[in-house]
Structures are given as structure tokens and as C-alpha cells.
Symmetry: C2
Subunit: 210 residues, 2 copies
DNA sequence: GGTGAGATTTATATCTTTATTAATCAGCAT
DNA sequence: ATGCTGATTAATAAAGATATAAATCTCACC
């Protein structure tokens, strides 16, 4: 009604917020319209189906994740441990701004083969084109050969980092909801974890016999 | 119909399977009945509401998790690192038999304050009664004082272990679905990760200056 | 064999959701 | 003013979901 702002965009934003918080099944186009303050039919007018709308939100978020992962990795010639610190830090800071994102992505991929396939192809196009895995592998195994870090499979290495980083943001909202913690406490928690994760990974892969 | 087995139990089992795979919102009482092969009204006859049925499944699973976490922790007087190895191993093996459980629990707690509160109280009754956190705290900080491990906050320590262990089983089904891996490969993956996680944690908290 | 209790099904009311269609509205071009 | 176009709403069809009530079935027990 009031031309406050393009309703198509408002719908997209409302959808993003609701989908992120309540998932696909837990969000109805009626909810979305209600939040925007427009008619429910308008949601379908712009996006035709709920799945369309969802995919638009979903893929956009996925892109953000991938871009953030790659960026600090590609253009760096710092020492290995510094690079590691930077990558973990960058990824961590990104997720801190999108607390519910990791969970959302995982949630909506599980139990939906079609979406999973979509994501997988997207991911492969992205990482393969830039050869992200190859880069990590090269760097990591070089360090292994230099004996600065213990022998470790690159897949394991990546999973270690991702597990620690991502899981944090799955646990965080639960912790916050339960303890009703303030924004300050939340920030404190995040900072605490960030440093610990970096320390744990670096100590955990360093070659003790070095 | 055929008195193959108590239908109430069959319904509970079917509900468990469907809820675990598709979540609360993604499962209908009709689905559950269909899987059992009985009438949809029977589901309500036994459990009255879908939420009731869900909570029964949910709390039972939660109990399993808590019990498994506490058991190897309480009665052990091995050396700290061995104990750690055992606890991680036990938890890990348990989760390997309930691959979708961690995700399910997290999924259904987020965005549902009531359930979250329920779980929180349950958890507190359980851990507080047995003072699980206190035990871990005592043990960990004793090691810190002995300088066998670096100074580390107990909360951080627990989160490290839980992150690495749990996230693995969130990633596993995705990995399997995508790569269509065989059961053997799945087992291989699990074994690979188990050893790595234990190594990473132990190296990661060991006092290097020791 | 009849009866009563619990198990199971049929039928249905009510609600919600997605999606479509037709109607209305607003503004711009002529 | 008229009419056109895109934006928006009203109305509603169709499908699916939860839940309940009543009917039927089963079978142990007398």
C-alpha cells in the first residue's frame, strides 16, 4: 500500500528471516505476508511458489558462505599458522553476523535430496573452479613434509576446523535462549571461543616432536 | 489388524524414525499411521496429540544422550588422557548408532522456547543431581594445576570435545547422501574421524612447555 | 452364546496451507 | 477523461493436517 519500499524485496527479507529461524516447513507464505503486512497472494505473485522463494533465499546465503570461506584463503602469503589464524578468524567473524545460518543450511539440506544435490553442484562449481581444496591440500601437506605439523589427512584437517567453528554457532543460540544472556555476554562468549578454537587447532596439529 | 505386535509400540517406533528424519513439522500423524499400516485415528487414540507423541520420543532420546555422556565419566580412575580417550570414544560410538540424533535434538529445540525449557530443566536435573559439570571441572582444573594441560576454561574444554564429536554426525549424513558412499566407506570415515578427534583434543590441550 | 472393554476404523468437523483467478487500485501515456 | 499496465487484494478451490465422536470389531470372561 504505502510505497514504503519495494514489496518484492520486503518479502524476500521477511522470508529470509522466517526461513532462517523456523525452517522451510515451519514457515508459511501466510506468515511471510503477515510479517510484511501485505496480502498472502502477493508472495505468490512475485515468486510463484514457496519453494522458489525459498531457493532464492537459500542459494544467496550459500553463496555468502562460500565466498567468505574462499576469500581469505586465496590471497595470502603469510606463514602457515598466521594464515590459519586468519582463515579461522574470518570465517568465525562472518558466522558471528549470521548466527543461524550454518544450522539453517544444514537443516534444509538433510532429508531433501534435491536441495542437497543442488547445493553440492553449486559447491563443486565454486570450489573446483577455484580449486580451493587443492590449495588447502597443497599448503597443509607442505607443512607436513616440513614437519611443522604432524601427519594429517587434509579432509580431517578441514573437518576439524569446520566442526569447531560451525558447531559453535549451532550451540550459541541454544545457550543464549536458555540463559537469556545479554548481548555483551554473547559477545564475550564468542570472543572466548574464537581464541580457544584457534589455539586448539594450532596446538592440536603442531608437531610436538618438532 | 494382524496382532503382529503392540500397535502402540509400533506407532512410537514409526514416529521416532519419521521425527528423526523429517523433524516435527515435516512429519504428519498420517505419515506415521501410513508407515505402521494402521489408521490415522489410532495415533491419536494412543497419544491424543502429535505434540504428546513427539515429546515422548524426544525425551526418551534425550535421556539416552545424557546417560551415555555420564556413564563413562563417573566410574573411572584411569589417567586423565586415558579417561578423555574413553569418554570421547564412548560418546562417539554411541552417536555412531544414532547418526541423526544430535541434529534432531538441536533442530527441535531451536525456535521452540517451550521445548528448550523442558530440555534445559531435564538436563539440569540430570547433570546437577550427578554434578557432572562439577566432576569434569575438578578433574580438568586439577590437570591444569599439575601443568599437564594448558590453562583452559572448563566450558571451553567441554565445548571443544562436544563440537568435534557432534558435528561429525551432522556432517556424516550429508557426506553420505552426496557421495552415495557404501556402508564400509561410512565406517571408514567414522573410524578416521574418531582417532583424529581424540588426537586433536589431546594434543590441543597438552601443555607444550611441559 | 452374550456382554463388556479395549482396540481399531469410518466419518467428519475444523483449520491451515498453497496456489490460482478474478477483481480492484494507482499512476502514467495519450 | 480514457485506457493500459503493473501492483495489490479479495475470494476461493483443492489438498492436507489435527483432532474427535461414533461405529464396529475382537476377544476374554461369565
Amino acid at each position: 500500500m504505502a510505497k514504503e519500499q519495494n514489496l518484492e524485496i520486503q518479502i524476500l527479507q521477511a522470508a529470509e528471516e522466517l526461513f532462517l529461524n523456523n525452517g522451510f516447513a515451519g514457515t508459511s507464505t501466510t506468515d511471510i505476508a503477515k510479517r510484511v503486512g501485505c496480502n498472502q497472494a502477493l508472495v505468490h505473485y512475485y515468486f510463484r511458489t514457496k519453494e522458489n522463494l525459498f531457493l532464492q533465499v537459500f542459494m544467496a546465503k550459500l553463496d555468502m558462505i562460500l565466498k567468505t570461506l574462499q576469500q581469505p584463503l586465496l590471497n595470502q602469503d603469510a606463514d602457515f599458522f598466521d594464515k590459519l589464524r586468519n582463515v579461522i578468524g574470518a570465517y568465525y567473524d562472518f558466522l558471528a553476523n549470521y548466527t543461524r545460518l550454518p544450522f539453517f543450511v544444514i537443516n534444509e539440506m538433510l532429508g531433501n535430496k534435491d536441495r542437497l544435490t543442488l547445493v553440492y553442484e553449486h559447491f563443486m562449481n565454486n570450489t573446483m573452479r577455484n580449486n580451493v581444496f587443492g590449495i588447502i591440500d597443497t599448503v597443509v601437506q607442505a607443512e607436513v613434509r616440513k614437519h611443522t605439523i604432524r601427519p594429517i589427512d587434509t579432509v580431517n584437517f578441514i573437518l576439524d576446523v569446520v566442526s569447531l567453528t560451525v558447531f559453535n554457532f549451532i550451540a550459541l543460540p541454544i545457550y543464549c535462549d536458555v540463559s537469556g544472556c545479554t548481548d555483551d555476554e554473547k559477545q564475550h562468549f564468542l570472543k572466548l571461543r574464537k581464541d580457544e578454537i584457534i589455539t586448539l587447532v594450532i596446538n592440536g596439529i603442531k608437531n610436538v616432536g618438532n
